[in-house]
Amino acid sequence: MSNRELSYAEAIREALAIALERDDSVFLMGEDIGVYGGAFQVTGDLIERFGEERVMDTPISELGGAGVAVGAALTGMRPVYEFQFSDFSMLAMEQIVNQAAKLRYMLGGAVSVPVVFRMPTGSGLGGAAQHSQSIEAWYAHVPGLKVVEPSTPEDVKGMLLAAIKDPDPVIVLEHKLLYKMKGVTPEGYYETPLDRAVVRREGRDLTIVATAIMVHRALEAAQILASEDIDAEVIDLRSLRPIDKAAIVGSVKRTARLLAVYEGVKTLGIGAEIAAIVAESEAFDYLDAPIVRLGGVEAPIPYSPVLEKAAVPQVEDIVAAARRLAQGEV
């Protein structure tokens, strides 16, 4: 077994290259993904390897670019459209939500829209209010879309390849702080399921369900908690639509306590869904404490680095919340 490590961005680039090699119908679109190599240098040298017909720089119009991608997908192509920031995907909502997500349904299954929308998300790089949002819950609310948020290089490669192969539109959310994170990444083609959560750490005292960068913060928190004899289970949700209810319910039935950690604004975010899944399930009877959510504050992401950090859950916040929960203080 190879222990080759790639960064998250390199794993994405490798997945894209493999897809481009394997399937002529795959092509990439996005602003500055060609010559410049992408806003976060994810596509890098792909334009040199595959040419500008398959790695296509598009004009500064997200609505236009996404519309072309959806149209191409309708004709049987498999476009992968990169937004520079997930914030900018709001300009393309019409194409994503009203067109891509609905066309299979509205045409009675006669068509499918095998498009992938990649979008960097989240705060932590000083991007301020319009470049730092976490809007995963917006997309996860739309039937017809699949929404995934991989947290490791291995997962982002496998999930991106699965997304490209998937016959329906898939949103792949890439947390910006993950791009430089390294991890063991298998070589060659493989797919990671788009509907399964994964247990990153087994524990008995509470279940922490986390997404994206919060998975890593939760794991770090779990290390600290372990030194206090608190044994936290950490579930990486990975998929927001469909959401792996069984993984959450099964875990909470064992640990009796649930902490949901996510970067999006706390109110009406993914954590609300996680809490509701447990409250509605047979795990309800196993809860030994109220469910706790840790999400982003009810405010735009500030530019000040100090305030930016304070606006979303950090390791110490997770430790404090988990400690109170595990010790029966909530």
Partner: protein, 469 residues
Amino acid sequence: MAVEIVMPRVDMDMASGRMGRWHAAEGAHVVRGATLFEIETDKAAMEVDAPASGVLKFIAASEGDVLPVGACIGWIVPEGEDFVPPMTHAPASVAAASGAAPCADPKTNDAAYAEGALGLRATPAARRIARNRGVRLSGVKGSGPNGRIQKRDVEGRAASVDAVTSVDADASVDAVHSPSLDGRPFGRPMDRIGRAPQGVRKDARLSTGDGARRNAVVDREWLQRGEGAPIVFLHGFGADLNGWRPVHRLLPETRPALAIDLPGHGLSPLGEDASFEALVEAARRALIGEGVGAAHLVGHSLGGAVAVALSRGASVKALSLMLIAPAGLGEETDTAFFEGFLQADTEAALTPWLHMLVTDPAALGSALARTTLRQRRERPLVAEQRRLAKAILRGGRQAIDVRDLLAAPQAPTKIVVGIEDRITPAHHADGLSGLIALHRFAHVGHMPHLEARREVARLIEELVRSGEE
């Protein structure tokens, strides 16, 4: 017919009543129309008459208890009738031993034990455990915020109430296996049971760092070590991992294979939670403990249902699924078998029940009855399997249902049934997804892996290969 005694509504606006004095004791003969007990409302004390004649049994309320209207407070059973109150929640042995009344309606049962309507603060987990163990929450002091009763408060209470009947997996395990500090396997009572240590009997604990002490034991054995994803064998109700040896011997030696004793079977104790989910969870933990992330699951009967549930979880990827006479695909079963099998305490009594499993008794081997009885003397298997039977059977039918989980099989799946199966009828496997291969063996009963072991071994090998591609 037994008659349930409930807290009556004597006032139009009465939601609950306080029990007064009983006029008859548990076991006493009562006559219809005679005063049976008193209740106290806000306004007055009232006498309530016996609704039937018979023996007063299963008293569930004592003086001073506040109970919602309609809550079951006992039963009047006709003289000589062997009556067990219908129950949906609690393992009867535990509840009865601790003086709890098993009552018909789960809602009133909840109310009586969890007292949800009466303003008492308790977590759902505390309420569930109270319900299952017959602990009255009104007498429990809560240690949580604002006096909220938590799981640990009820567990402490339950320990004193039913110390004899409550099986604490961790405690019983620590009594048997003392941890060794030098990394050698924990001591195990193998010789007591007389099982030859074939293959590599693995330490049954999970090795998740310092949490290991608190993890319940799931016994398992590598029938074959090797490279690649293993075959994982999950036995049926009343069996154990040894039952797989005959068919395993026919598989290629290169194929790793792991067999698990489900809780309440073989060497695996059954914890407090006697549920189907607990079996699935135990199997999952065993696999994680062995570092098995992907496996070819082979399950027989109840183990088949466990395999299906396991294959749908997140932590273990099922590469293929082989279900042999699986449970959970239909409702019918022969409950007489379960009763007879668990009740029989001699070889002569047990043998006919075992013969129900097969068409030709020779397939079982001659020593099975003797081995089963010997194991039952060494471990509390009968008590544990009774508790388990309560969870998987309800009203004479199977209570577990995994049909929906098979609607869209993710991995290659085969079902093997014997047409003459008397425990899980062969037609239960009808009408499933067309992606599932169904193999129906004539002149075979509930044990295809013993009765048609060569064929089943061949099917396992074919399936495993297709699951690897």
